[in-house]
């Protein structure tokens, strides 16, 4: 390789003089503090950053949800305007899915996958940093729409000429999280591109596009990592289930996201350049948007839920003291769910008049996808059955996951019946269904994962009594909030309506649901506050506090930057558990030690390249607003992006050799090397 190969192994990167790239730029390599976090290529730090941002946006989305519920607490309420309400529910859904659940899953992918497969990093460390910062800027662009909205409400924009010409002034997205055309699109002939909505939709389009780039880049990286960087002996059928589910999720992302990417490009062309993809006045078919959206949107549901299933599949065996029941079947079911996930999108569109044959086909396929899901649930029950169950906070949350997710699954099977679905469409019954799946399912699973792996991430144990209280509040509040919505939906209450009149029989349960939402919100806040406190001040704990089964528990906590002082060689599934209690020990390769392990160099370039998206993300909606010269912001953004990628390419991977504590034949010692 290049100049970087000549470094002698060092005990800490700070011992080395700053490395210069070929262009003479100083690499931000031997740094600490802020620079270190902004330029890190360490998958563990990137995972922590993903988690921190995701938890922040969970709280943002939660505040939006509470505003929605407060508006609905009583009939004819005027807590928020109808206009604001539209923006709230749109941003709530978008935030929770794209800025809450997906990045929190990504936090686990980042932190865990290399550790679970016995690798020292991901396949492309700088690309990983690029994914992180692109996500951060995409999220910022999406939420910056709120800043414009508040500036508008405060009257600060009134003096601007362009502001006087706006036909619509909803600055935050207001179409619902799936932004159906033609509401999100245009009308009129010959490129008039008259709109139904304000620039919020443009913020949404560019924000989701940028977030999609982040997800795609991360997924390429993780598939590559899982397929190519497994430790010796780590065959595919010895992979921890979480890693398996990560692999399937990443495959879903790379195959499903292009559909939304194209749909967003088409919608952007409609809005910005007067194209006619979804313009009904010029022959465009708004239904095409629904198809393209749900070809992405339904796999997206499994993109959200499979990581949580993987987390639960790690936690249940640990606290049942048994191996996962039917490992191959769990893996296979996950793959079948991923595969069938592409064949059921039209069940979101039963009421659009697809015709009897497609409707029947999609109904049958949707029922079929319940089978592998049910198989998984029975396998989890089989895992607990006869085990010595320890009701730790992660276990309680995992059991909550199974229970709540199952309820969501039951109402899901009800939806698969097209005639029933046509009654439930756009009612609160649907809201109840997918919140049981996404909140009762996914969020509980992710919270279980947080409580399970926090001791590994920070070497500190979360406060257990608080965790129990928070878990109880979340599960209780959640059921109070969303259980009644089944009834409300069947009693006819439509979703996405900012208020309702008294006398429909909806008052009581809406009141109950809102109280439940407050309890839920307080519970989630408490759970996150507990975790945040733990990260800095929590009680220190041993490196394997739960009696873990997979390789990450064989490492010290917090995990040293090189992960494995010597690369492990595994001989079985659940390698660390077998190492402790079974006959098959983990062997270690004769590397590391004084010779050191190769560490990638840090870089500014992923951050610089991502900044281009920040410019483009602001520029596009500002063009739509009619702000003069906003197009230059977009062009600057593209320039910054290309410049960043070019500098990234010529900078080279760099790297240095880091000494590790010598440890032959046994797992790395509990105390970490100085770093």
């Amino acid at each position: 390789m290049s100049h970087d190969s000549h470094h002698a192994p060092v005990a800490s990167k700070l011992e080395l003089a700053p490395e210069r790239s070929d262009l003479g730029l100083i690499r931000p390599d031997r740094t600490t503090g802020w620079t270190d976090w902004l330029t890190t290529v360490d998958h563990k730090k990137i995972g922590i950053l993903y988690g921190a941002f995701a938890m922040f946006y969970f709280l943002v989305g939660g505040v939006e949800a509470l505003a929605i519920r407060t508006q609905l607490i009583r009939p004819d309420n005027d807590f928020v305007t109808a206009r604001m309400y539209n923006q709230l529910f749109t941003m709530h859904g978008t935030t929770m899915i794209f800025l809450g659940v997906m990045p929190l899953s990504a936090a686990f992918f980042n932190f865990l996958v290399p550790l679970q497969i016995g690798a020292r990093d991901v396949a492309f460390p700088r690309l990983n940093a690029f994914s992180l910062w692109t996500f951060v800027f995409g999220a910022f662009v999406l939420n910056a729409s709120w800043l414009f909205e508040f500036a508008h409400l405060a009257g600060w924009l009134n003096g601007f000429e362009w502001h006087k010409h706006l036909a619509f002034t909803d600055f935050a997205p207001a179409n619902g999280w799936f932004s159906y055309a033609p509401l999100s699109g245009t009308y009129g002939q010959n490129g008039q591109a008259l709109r139904f909505t304000g620039v919020g939709t443009d913020f949404w389009i560019i924000g989701i596009q940028v977030l999609g780039i982040a997800s795609l880049a991360a997924s390429f990286n993780f598939i590559c990592t899982i397929i190519n960087m497994r430790a010796k002996g780590m065959t595919m059928m010895r992979l921890p289930v979480f890693t398996w589910m990560t692999l399937i999720t990443a495959i879903l992302i790379i195959l499903a996201f292009p559909a939304i990417t194209v749909a967003l490009i088409e919608l952007m062309f409609d809005r910005a350049f007067g194209a006619n993809f979804f313009n009904p006045s010029a022959g465009g078919q708004p239904i095409l948007w629904q198809h393209l959206f749900w070809i992405f949107g339904h796999p997206e549901v499994y993109i959200l839920v499979l990581p949580a299933m993987g987390i639960v599949s790690e936690i249940l065996p640990t606290f049942s003291g048994k191996a996962l029941f039917g490992y191959p079947i769990i893996v296979f079911s996950g793959a079948v769910i991923g595969f069938l996930g592409f064949a059921v999108w039209s069940h979101h569109m039963f009421t659009t008049g697809l015709g009897p044959v497609p409707t029947a086909a999609f109904a049958l396929l949707t029922m079929a996808i319940a089978v592998p899901t049910g198989v998984k649930i029975f396998n989890w029950l089989g895992t607990i059955w006869g085990g010595r169950v320890r009701f730790t906070p992660p276990m309680v949350l995992s059991l909550g996951f199974i229970w709540m997710f199952m309820c969501g699954g039951f109402s899901g099977v009800m939806h698969s019946s097209a005639p029933a679905d046509s009654q439930q469409q756009d009612s609160y019954f649907v809201i109840a269904h997918f919140h049981y799946v996404l909140l009762g399912g996914v969020l509980l699973g992710l919270m279980a994962g947080l409580y399970f792996w926090f001791p590994k991430i920070f070497g500190r144990m979360p406060n257990a009594p608080l965790a129990y209280i928070a878990s109880g509040m979340v599960i209780l509040g959640f059921n109070l909030a969303f259980g009644p919505m089944h009834y409300l939906g069947l009693a006819g209450m439509p979703r996405r309506t900012h208020t309702y009149h008294a006398g429909n029989g909806w008052e009581t349960w809406n009141y109950v649901a809102t109280i439940g939402a407050y309890i839920l919100g307080a519970g989630v806040f408490l759970a996150f506050a507990n975790l945040a406190w733990t990260a800095f001040k929590g009680k220190k704990c041993a490196s394997d506090p739960w009696g873990g089964r997979t390789l990450e528990w064989s490492l010290p906590s917090p995990v040293p930057e090189y992960n494995f002082a010597q690369a492990p060689i595994v001989a079985t599934r659940d390698a660390y558990f077998e190492d402790k209690h079974g006959g098959k020990r983990i062997a270690y390769e004769n590397d590391g030690g004084e010779a050191g392990v190769h560490m990638p160099s840090q870089s500014w370039m992923p951050l610089v390249a991502s900044t281009g998206f920040l410019f483009a993300g602001f520029g596009m909606p500002m063009m739509a607003m009619g702000v003069p010269h906003a197009g230059w912001i977009v062009i600057t953004g593209l320039g910054v992006l290309i410049l960043g990628i070019w500098l990234w390419a010529v900078e080279g991977p760099g790297g240095y050799m880091l000494k590790t504590p010598a440890a032959s034949g046994s797992p790395a010692p509990a105390e970490t090397a100085a770093h």
Binding site: M1, P258, A275
Partner: protein, 222 residues
């Protein structure tokens, strides 16, 4: 593993290099990307088989518009650029840097010819009255072929940078050959996609007496 080079080129579990694998994954994703765009175009062709209305209000048929000889020529050029790309990759594997440079210049040149034909085609179609704004056909056609053109342009830019990089002396050995091969994968893929677009968007319009979609216009009245 005291050799640092060994750490750089640590053997992968599958024996496939990371860069090559990630390019294949990207191409899998790009298949879905172009699949969506091509589907959009074909759906609207089926729905509106009769072409578009130009600015004067005249009904125009797509066969009047297309210059199939020109597009066949540019398709042939792109195919031949793939041949040169294969030669460039092969040269790099043998360490023949001069041969690599010659062939890659050829690829760049052919890629630019293709892009030039596309620019000409777009201009010509625009003057014939097909715009992105006046019909669904214009929207789907320009966005689909324009997206492909963008892919070609990115490929050309990539190869130009690689060409100049080769003069720094750093493009060599196993890593250099791998980098060129990965660029080659991308280039071949973009070429294959064009073969599909050329068939699905251009050639089928000339099938049968009325074109594949039944436009009511004999294909021969160009």
């Amino acid at each position: 593993m005291s050799e640092t080079a060994a750490a750089h080129d640590a053997p992968t579990s599958t024996g496939i290099d990371h860069k090559k694998l990630i390019m294949w994954l990207f191409l899998a994703s790009d298949c879905m990307f172009f699949g969506t765009l091509i589907s959009t175009h074909l759906l609207y062709r089926k729905l509106y088989p009769s072409g578009f209305t130009d600015a004067e209000g005249h009904q125009r048929f797509i066969q009047n518009l297309f210059n199939i000889e020109l597009t066949s020529f540019s398709t042939f050029i792109l195919l031949m650029s793939s041949f040169l790309m294969a030669l460039a990759v092969s040269a790099m594997h043998k360490g023949e840097i001069k041969s690599f440079r010659r062939n890659v210049l050829g690829v760049i040149f052919f890629g630019l010819i293709f892009l030039g034909c596309q620019v000409f085609e777009f201009t010509h179609f625009y003057h014939q009255g097909l715009t992105i704004q006046n019909s669904v056909l214009g929207s789907t056609f320009y966005v689909l072929t324009g997206t492909h053109g963008t892919h070609v342009a990115i490929g050309v830019l990539w190869l130009i940078l690689m060409y100049f990089y080769s003069f720094t002396g750093k493009l060599g050995g196993h890593t250099g050959a791998l980098d060129v091969e990965v660029a080659g994968l991308y280039w071949h893929f973009v070429d294959i996609v064009w073969i599909i677009i050329f068939t699905a968007v251009y050639l089928v319009e000339y099938l049968g007496p009325n074109g594949f979609w039944g436009t009511g216009l004999p294909a021969v009245t160009k």
